[in-house]
């Protein structure tokens, strides 16, 4: 690992505990706001401005950038000055170019928690206060389903149209890529301590009695159930709910046999460094970072398949500065800006051309397959299919029961 990155603060994205007290409160307030009116029937499709679909010609009336942009993101998800945590070079560059002040807030610690905070205004058809938010694919698909997002004017985002990595195009919940722009991605696979386990390649290791009590699963439902689906020979991208239930049963076996030490968020990475856990369902970025503390840690996409997930820039319905938000999306899809961000945050970059730019900054990082995966790796990882509301409710319920709550 190059040493320019301060890793003293562990990345806690995807971990719900970080802000859980507030989260509970927020969700509670949100729940109050629903008020039993039952009035959340979807409104008509989002009104479109200039060119609704792929018309890369600029819109007839060119709007001007707004004075400010309200941007909500996860902590440690933007390049940051080593000496001044409030300075982000990419955002300063944006201000210099467009004159827009970016109100950048690292307020998203958890998809569900953040959803609780924007639910009430969006449900009431009001502005959420944010122009640009970053949420994980499955939550983004829920927002698309609820029609709580603005549709991009693709004419305003030519870099996005041109530079989006092919593997991220056209998920089943947004086939035209008009509601979401991937911000960063990550892979879920097999994490292990090669000193203890040797080299592992199969996801059967997640059910191997040899690792009893030193094996962890993830609290992220789609990641964990996905491996069980793969183990049974089903597909993450296309499964029936009956197959889903079989996958839950397969996981239940491992729980009943006490193979699984715990279901965790990012904490498994710390436990692997401490030696308490030797095999884990793991996120690529965590292992990459923790290799600095323990160089025998390895990340492997299982032969049977792994997961590709990504966080997306989204424009909430009724955003005050939609055009400026589109400018920002387009700005970070410029390869040089994407590389500038990537050099600091080290996730998987969904921008074509960023690799060459990053190699100029830092050759080691630019050539790392955990930041720019090879085609071979992309071939093995898939997303999780979109679910209907009923399916999602059933899936969450079954998974909650599995993990004991």
């Amino acid at each position: 690992m190059p040493d320019q990155i301060d890793r003293s603060i562990e990345i806690t994205r995807r971990r719900f505990l970080a802000g859980s007290a507030m989260a509970g409160f927020a969700a509670f307030l949100a729940a109050c706001g629903t008020g039993g009116t039952g009035s959340s029937a979807p409104t008509e499709p989002p009104a479109t401005e200039a060119g609704p679909t792929a018309t890369p010609a600029p819109p007839t009336e060119k709007p001007s950038p707004a004075a400010e942009l309200n941007f909500a993101n996860w902590p440690l998800y933007m390049d940051t000055d080593d000496n001044d945590p409030t300075k982000h070079k990419t955002l300063d560059d944006f201000t210099a170019e467009y004159g827009t002040k970016v109100n950048y807030s690292e307020v998203i610690n958890d998809n569900d928690q953040f959803f609780g905070t924007i639910k009430a205004p969006l449900e009431a058809g009001q502005d959420s206060g944010w122009d640009l938010i970053v949420l994980t694919d499955w939550m983004a698909s829920r927002l698309v389903r609820l029609q709580w997002l603005e549709k991009f004017d693709l004419g305003n985002v030519p870099n996005y149209v041109a530079n989006l990595e092919d593997s991220f195009k056209a998920p089943d919940w947004d086939k035209t890529n008009e509601y979401h722009a991937p911000w960063q991605a990550g892979m879920t696979g097999l994490g292990f301590d090669s000193k203890v386990t040797g080299d592992l390649t199969s996801l059967n290791e997640f059910w191997n009695p040899k690792w009893k009590g030193r094996l962890t699963y993830l609290t992220e439902m789609r990641d964990t159930v996905g491996f069980a689906l793969n183990k049974l020979g089903f597909k993450r991208t296309d499964f029936t709910m009956d197959q889903f239930d079989q996958a839950i049963a397969e996981l239940q076996k491992a729980v009943d046999e006490k193979l699984v030490r715990a279901f965790t968020g990012n904490e498994y990475a710390e436990s692997m460094v401490a030696g308490d856990v030797v095999v884990a369902m793991a996120w690529s970025g965590d292992i990459l970072q923790k290799q600095a503390d323990k160089d025998t840690l390895r990340f492997q996409i299982p032969d049977e398949g792994g997961a590709l997930w990504y966080d997306n820039m989204l424009i909430p319905k009724g955003a005050q500065h939609k055009y400026t938000a589109e400018l920002m999306i387009d700005f970070v899809y410029r390869p040089d800006k994407a590389a500038q961000i990537e050099a600091w945050i080290n996730y998987i970059c969904p921008v074509k051309g960023a690799k060459e730019e990053l190699i100029k900054i830092d050759a080691d990082l630019g050539n790392s397959p955990l930041i720019f995966p090879t085609a071979d790796m992309y071939a093995k990882v898939t997303g999780f299919r979109a679910m209907t509301e009923e399916e999602e409710a059933h899936a969450n319920d079954a998974f909650s029961t599995l993990i004991g709550s």
């Binding site: 509670f28 729940a31 959340s40 279901f263 401490a274 308490d276």
Partner: protein, 346 residues
Amino acid sequence: MTAVNANRGGGFLQRRRGLVPLLLLAPGVLWLAFFYVYPAFQMFLSSFWTGSLEKGFTFSLGNWTTYPDAIVRYQEQFVRSILYAGAATILTFLIAYPLAWTIAFKGGRWKNLLIFLVIAPFFTSFLLRTVSWKIILGDSGIVLGPLKDVGLLPEEFRVLATPIAVVSGITYNFLPFMTLPIYVSLEKMDFRLIEAARDLYAGPWRRPGAIIGAIVGGGLLAVLAGIFEWSIVPVAAFGAVAGAVIGALLISEAFVRVTFPLSLPGVFAGSLLVLIPAIGDYVNAELLGTTNTRMIGNVIQSRYLVNTDYPTAAALSFVMMAAILVAVLIYARALGTENLTASRGL
């Protein structure tokens, strides 16, 4: 003129003396009304909803069945929460009482420093304190590592991801809430009462002390053994022997007849301060536990945030509040509410 006006002002409050308490109460009452009563009422309403986030929720009194359904489905987590919180309360008492006693009576000029040390962990966030237990209790960490190295423990032995880790975490996190009230009640005690008791032959109390110690120690460890699924008889026997030795050495008649009764208000307050938040705690279970150590707090947070099943979450919260209320009332009745005011006998 001004003096006259000032007098008039004073006269107003004097004439309406009855208003003073109301004015003093107003901020607290308003705060409670806005931030407790109103949300609690809303939550109560939402426990009668049916529906889903996307289709919307509708209210109907017919949805009372949410309550029995939730209790039946999550009875295991309810019982576990009460057991863990109860065990943690007992453990904090066992640790805090000697600690508070020592600081109060033997602390001398170090008293303030020692009390500061009791509170010091609170300068760090609850979450970080809990995470640090993961490091301390690690399978090859600073506690278990050396014991395994010398062969005292089998290699696969672990504390993390077991009920012991969760109860230990709660005990640690809530220890100051038990220590401080007991310390306060002991510290203000008039030591001359104890001297007087000694003068009246309330001295060492070997045999009754040993009996009390054996009963208390054996009983407590039997309860803990039940919770942790250890074999009860040997553990309880060990507790009885240890309790008898400690009781014979430390318990004097003066302690039983004077010191302990006078410290009961502190014990009462401390127990409530530990027990009530501990029942609802979910951080320890989340970080230190595993699937079969989940508590009711974990269920409520997951129902709210992950499953967006607001009615069940609200119903569970209300059942929990009701259960705690009943438990506290029984406890207050048993120990006597006048203990809370602490003025009796002094």
